[in-house]
Symmetry: C2
Subunit: 217 residues, 2 copies
């Protein structure tokens, strides 16, 4: 399969393709035309063809796409064909909620460790994973081939923690703390931010605009 | 203030402006130039000027932006100048984690109710909010001026629940279930999706591409 530079917009859509193809597989669908996939995903067929052409195009004229093959190839592109060991820093409600998401594990993201600063939590287990204290972190990362660190801790501690993680070899951070870590870390560290309150504000913006538009009618 | 049609990209950035301006206020900064704001946010100064001009432009040549005023005006645009009553459907780990986020409440998003189908959870309280059963939902929505419903329940129940909510007058859904609700609801219902596993897959994509690029060097 030939590799090209793929636009950010396409990459943003890939997980959605992967999800829909997974659902088709579950439904026993073996092949699908771009037209049918388009109807299901509410994306134009030409957009789908264009997106999937980025990966050498897995479709065949008159046959459509082989669902299993396409699902598998997109999975590879997303790095889902292997296990990524993950730790969660901050074992509060959100950290524990994420540790309990078994669906992440099914996609290859395996939570191998949970860390917190609160001594009361020491040794408490979540889905069999004991909560450890931060002083064990450097050794744990080394011994467990940890690739991804999830930050579910307060903003005030996030930057310092991210720096400690990077010093200990972490290259990928899934950040739930409400601060832009990208600004303080080396450029080759990959940060994916999930800023929940910004998402809520977009919802509120859309709700407010909708109500204002209704009033004017 | 005159209102124009604002692009999605600008709206996406607004919560981030709001957050940075809030931090400046906390630090006691009263005015700031687009240049300084640019440096802090790692966005070009011209982008900032262009974005903020969408709202009639709050800056003054030679003075810069009045931080408090700009924060307040962006807050109004985002609908943060009033309280939005919110309920959470699905009182598992994630639902409880969100109910415990006091920062949402500070932005005007008030969790007034928590619902679940599991009778074991009935009456359990989270931050003083009792978990209620779904049969109480229609009356609760009416009596509590609920605007936003947060869905933290399995994909298999999400669509049916969203339809029930809309029938009972909910216009805005904050959706954590891994399914695209937009596809099955009336067009004027506002859905903001937070698909956590898609975010994790983007992280994994970037990590995989980075490693492949490194190998080639």
């Amino acid at each position: 399969m030939c590799k090209k530079v793929i636009s950010k917009a396409v990459i943003k859509r890939l997980p959605r393709y992967y999800r829909y193809l997974g659902e088709l597989l579950e439904d026993g669908v073996e092949r699908i035309s771009s037209g049918e996939l388009s109807e299901r995903m509410k994306v134009t067929a030409s957009q789908i063809r264009q997106d999937l052409n980025n990966f050498g195009g897995f479709g065949q004229q008159g046959y459509g796409y082989n669902v299993r093959y396409l699902h598998q190839e997109i999975g590879k592109i997303l790095g889902l064909d292997r296990v990524h060991n993950m730790i969660i820093i901050g074992a509060g409600n959100l950290g524990q909620a994420l540790a309990n998401y078994t669906s992440f594990e099914r996609s290859g993201f395996k939570t191998v460790g949970l860390f917190d600063v609160n001594p009361v939590l020491k040794g408490v287990t979540v889905r069999g994973i004991p909560i450890r204290m931060i002083d064990e972190l450097p050794e744990f990362i080394k011994e467990n081939q940890v690739e991804i660190a999830t930050l579910t801790l307060p903003k005030s501690r996030a930057t310092e923690m991210a720096e400690l993680l990077v010093q200990n070899g972490i290259r990928a951070i899934w950040n739930f703390a409400l601060t832009d870590l990208n600004l303080c870390l080396p450029k080759d560290v990959i940060v994916e931010n999930v800023h929940l309150s910004e998402s809520l504000m977009r919802l509120s913006y859309n709700l407010t605009s909708y109500e204002e538009a209704k009033k004017k009618k």
